[in-house]
Symmetry: C2
Subunit: 440 residues, 2 copies
C-alpha cells in the first residue's frame, strides 16, 4: 500500500463504528446521501467535481499497520473494531451525479449503500473531496461564463494548500478553464499546463531588455513577456524591440486593467504588433472578468478567487443517513428534525426536466424502499442524473484518472448548455431551477 486515506476521518465515525459493532447495529444495511441544503454564496447553480478523485481515495481507504497502531495506542477503538478495520474494504455501491454535472439544492449527488459500518467511515473523506472540488468548479464555471470565448488559465496554486491546489486546477479545468500553471495537475490529471514569467525574472537581470532577450532565446518569440515590472509603456516598447512584431503575448499583472489593457493594445498596434496577445492576471474574479468584456484582452489568468471558490470556499454538502434496514429487514426512511437543518428521508431518483432542450426543474422522486425507485420511463423527456459509480466495491474505471477528467469536462460543457439564460447571470440570487420532490 503506497498511501492510505483511512485516517482522513473524523474520530466520531470510528467511535460510532465501535459502539455499533458492540450492539450489532453496525451491520444494518444503510443508505447515506450526499447533498447540499442550499447553494453556497447565492449561486444560481452548482457544479459537481471531485468524483473521480473520491473513487480513487475510496480505493485507498485501507487501514495499514501505521493507521492501526495509532488507533490502538490512542485507545480510540477496541480490539474488535481494530480487527474489523484491518480487513476493511468498501464492498457496497455508490451511485451519483456524473462529475461535471450541474446541481441544485437537494440534488442527491451521491447515494451510498452498504452496511452502517462500511459506509459511515467514508463521511469525512467524501465530503472533503466533494466540498472543496465542487466549490472551485462552481466558481470556475461562473468565470468561464463571464469570459465567453476567451481562454482562462488557473494560476492560484500559491493561494491554496499544496494538495488542494492540484485538486483546484483539476476542478477548474472540468468547469471550463483551458489550462493551469500547476505542474502536478498536469502530471496527475492531464490538465494542460502554461506559464509566463515572474517579476523576479526581470529583477534578476541587469535590465528588463536582458531579461526579455533571454526569455525569447530560451522559449521563442511566441512566449508571453511580463511588462509591468518597471514602466508598462517602456516595457511594451522594449518587448517589441527585442522580440519583433511577432511576439506572442504580453502579460499585465497590475494597475487599472480596463484602462491599462486599452493603452497597451493601442501601443502594440502602433508598434505594428497587431497579433501580439494581451493576458491579464491581477486579482481577477468573475466580476472583474465580466468588466473586461469590452476591453482588448485575449486571455485571463485567475489565481486566488478560483482556488478559494470566489467567496464560497466550500460547497456546504452534507452526508446524511436517509434510510436503514429495520430488524425485520424492511426499509425505514429516516431524517432528523433539527431546527433549520431538517432533511428528506428515503432513497431518491433525480431527473432534470427539460422543455425544448432547456432545463426547467430538478425533479427528485423519493421512495421509501429500494425496489420502487423511479425510472426515466416515468418522466418522459427528463434526463436521469444518476449513474453507477461504484458497484459492489468496484469503481467505474471510466471515471478515474485523466480520462475521467476529460469526460467530466466534456459533460460539463454539454449540460451547461441546457441551463436557462437566467442561470448565467453573476449576481446573487435564488437557484436557477426549482427543486421539486415527488413522493412515490
Amino acid at each position: 500500500m503506497t498511501r492510505s486515506t483511512a485516517l482522513h476521518t473524523d474520530r466520531y465515525e470510528l467511535t460510532m463504528l465501535d459502539a455499533g459493532l458492540r450492539d450489532g447495529t453496525a451491520h444494518r444495511r444503510c443508505v447515506f446521501e450526499v447533498f447540499g441544503r442550499r447553494l453556497s454564496g447565492g449561486r444560481r447553480f452548482g457544479v459537481v467535481a471531485g468524483t473521480g478523485r473520491l473513487l480513487d481515495a475510496i480505493r485507498d481507504f485501507r487501514f495499514g499497520d501505521e493507521e492501526l497502531r495509532f488507533l490502538r495506542d490512542n485507545r480510540i477503538v477496541d480490539a474488535t473494531t481494530l480487527d474489523f478495520l484491518a480487513g476493511y474494504r468498501f464492498t457496497g455501491s455508490i451511485s451519483g451525479y456524473r462529475e461535471g454535472e450541474i446541481y441544485f439544492p437537494g440534488s442527491p449527488l451521491l447515494t451510498i449503500e452498504g452496511t452502517f459500518a462500511e459506509a459511515v467511515v467514508l463521511e469525512t473523506l467524501a465530503l472533503s473531496v466533494l466540498n472543496f472540488d465542487s466549490a472551485v468548479a462552481t466558481a470556475a464555471a461562473r468565470m468561464s461564463v463571464a469570459a465567453g470565448d476567451r481562454p482562462l488559465a488557473e494560476m492560484g496554486s500559491r493561494r491554496a494548500s499544496e494538495e488542494a491546489a492540484v485538486a483546484a486546477a483539476r476542478a477548474a479545468y472540468i468547469a471550463g478553464f483551458a489550462a493551469t500553471s500547476n505542474l502536478e495537475a498536469g502530471r496527475r490529471w492531464g490538465v494542460p499546463t502554461m506559464g509566463t514569467a515572474a517579476h523576479a525574472w526581470t529583477l534578476l537581470h541587469d535590465s528588463e531588455e536582458a531579461a526579455f532577450r533571454s526569455q525569447i532565446d530560451a522559449l521563442g518569440t511566441d512566449t508571453t513577456l511580463l511588462i509591468d515590472t518597471y514602466d508598462i509603456r517602456e516595457g511594451v516598447r522594449t518587448a517589441i524591440r527585442v522580440a519583433g512584431t511577432g511576439l506572442g503575448g504580453v502579460r499585465i499583472d497590475s494597475g487599472d486593467l480596463p484602462i491599462v489593457a486599452g493603452e497597451v493594445r493601442a501601443l502594440l498596434d502602433e508598434l505594428g504588433a497587431t497579433d501580439t496577445r494581451i493576458t491579464v492576471t491581477s486579482d481577477l474574479d468573475e466580476y472583474a472578468i465580466a468588466a473586461l468584456a469590452a476591453s482588448p484582452v485575449d486571455s485571463y489568468g485567475v489565481g486566488t478567487s478560483v482556488v478559494t471558490g470566489s467567496g464560497a470556499p466550500t460547497a456546504g454538502l452534507v452526508f446524511k443517513l436517509v434510510a436503514r434496514a429495520a430488524e425485520d429487514g424492511s426499509w425505514v426512511p429516516v431524517a432528523k428534525a433539527s431546527a433549520q437543518k431538517a432533511s428528506h428521508g428515503g432513497r431518491k431518483a433525480a431527473f432534470r426536466t427539460l422543455d425544448s432542450g432547456t432545463a426547467t426543474s430538478e425533479l427528485i422522486a423519493v421512495s421509501d424502499g429500494f425496489e420502487e425507485l423511479a425510472t426515466a420511463a416515468q418522466f418522459p423527456g427528463a434526463r436521469p442524473l444518476q449513474v453507477p459509480l461504484v458497484v459492489d466495491g468496484e469503481p467505474d474505471a471510466a471515471a478515474l484518472g485523466p480520462a475521467g477528467v476529460a469526460t467530466a469536462r466534456a459533460h460539463h460543457a454539454r449540460v451547461r448548455e441546457e441551463l436557462p439564460v437566467r442561470a448565467l447571470a453573476l449576481s446573487k440570487s435564488e437557484p436557477a431551477l426549482p427543486t421539486e420532490y415527488r413522493e412515490l
Copy 2:
C-alpha cells in the same frame, strides 16, 4: 523516495530556470523574501503557521523519474535543465519567523538565500503551505481570543480538501485550539483528537434511547451525547435517564444557540446533572463564539469557519526577489515598481519593539548588503523575530514533526500575551502595530 513535492510548482518557475541556466543568471546568488503586503480580511494581526510542514516539504522537493519524465515528455524544459533538476537539492539557507509567531504587513516571514536556480523553484510550494496554514491559524487565534478559557475543538475536515484538512487541524491547534476531530492530524502531528456522535447514530437505532444506551455502553458515561436529532428537551431527558446525572456532556448542533443553551442548562440542572457539560457546534465563527460568552456553554466545536479562514481563506503572502548578486559579486537590492504592488528591496532584520512587555511596533531594518544586517544590540529591548530555519540545506530538526507543533503552540501562546489589548478586538481594523522601516 516515498513522495516528491517537486511538481507542486508553477510551470513558469521551471521555464525561468531553463532560460536562466542558458544565460548564466540562474547561478546568481539571490535573496527571496516571503511577506504580506497587508493582513487579509481587515485582521489586526496575523499568525505564522506551516513552517514545520514547509521544511519537511522542501526536504522532499526532489525530482524523481516520474517527475522528470513528465517534464521531458511535455517539453517543459530542455535536457540541461532536466539534468540540473535530477540532481536538485536545496543547499541554501532560510531564516524566518518562528512558527506560531505573530506578524504584520511587511514582516519578512521567510528569507531564502541561494542561487536563483535553487530558490526560485520553491516559490509555489512555500506560498501554498504558508498562505493556507497562516490563514487558518490567524482565524483560529481570533476564535481562541473570543472563547477565552473555554476549550475549542476543530471539526471542519469535511469542509476542506482532505490534505488541507490535516494542515488546518494542525494550524488551529498551534493558534490555541485544544483538539481536532481529524485522526490523521493526530497521527501525523500529535494533535489531540476528540469526537462525539453524528445524527446518523441516533437515526440508525430504533429509538434515541437505544442509541444513547449503546454509546454509553461503549464509551462510558463521560461521553458526549448529541441531543438534537428529534426534540431537544426530550433528548436531554432521555440522555439523563439513560446515563444518569454523571453524564459527561451533551452536544447541541442546531437552533438559536444562546437561547437553546440556556434552556438545556436549566433542564440539566433541574434533572440534577449539574456537572454535565454543554458543547455547541452549529456554524460557529469568532463572532458567534463571542456572542455566546454569557451563555452557559462549556466548549465549542468549530468547523467551516476555521478551516476556511473565516472569510479570509488565504493569507495573501507573496514570494519576492529582494536582492541579487551583480556580475562583480556585489549585492543589488531589487524591487518592482508596479502600481499598487510596489515592494521594499534589500535584506531585512525584523524586531518587535516592546514597552513594559507590551508590543509597540514591527521594526524592519533594511540593509542593501549582507554584512551590515541589523542586530538586536542596535535595538535594546526589542525582540528579534527571525531564527535560522534551514542552514546550508539542513532544516532545523526542532521545527519538524509533532515536537515542532508543540513548540509552535507554546510560542504562539507566549507572544500573543505581548499584544496590546486593541489587537484582540474582533472588528475589522488597521493592523494593531505599525510597521516601521529603518534604512541602514
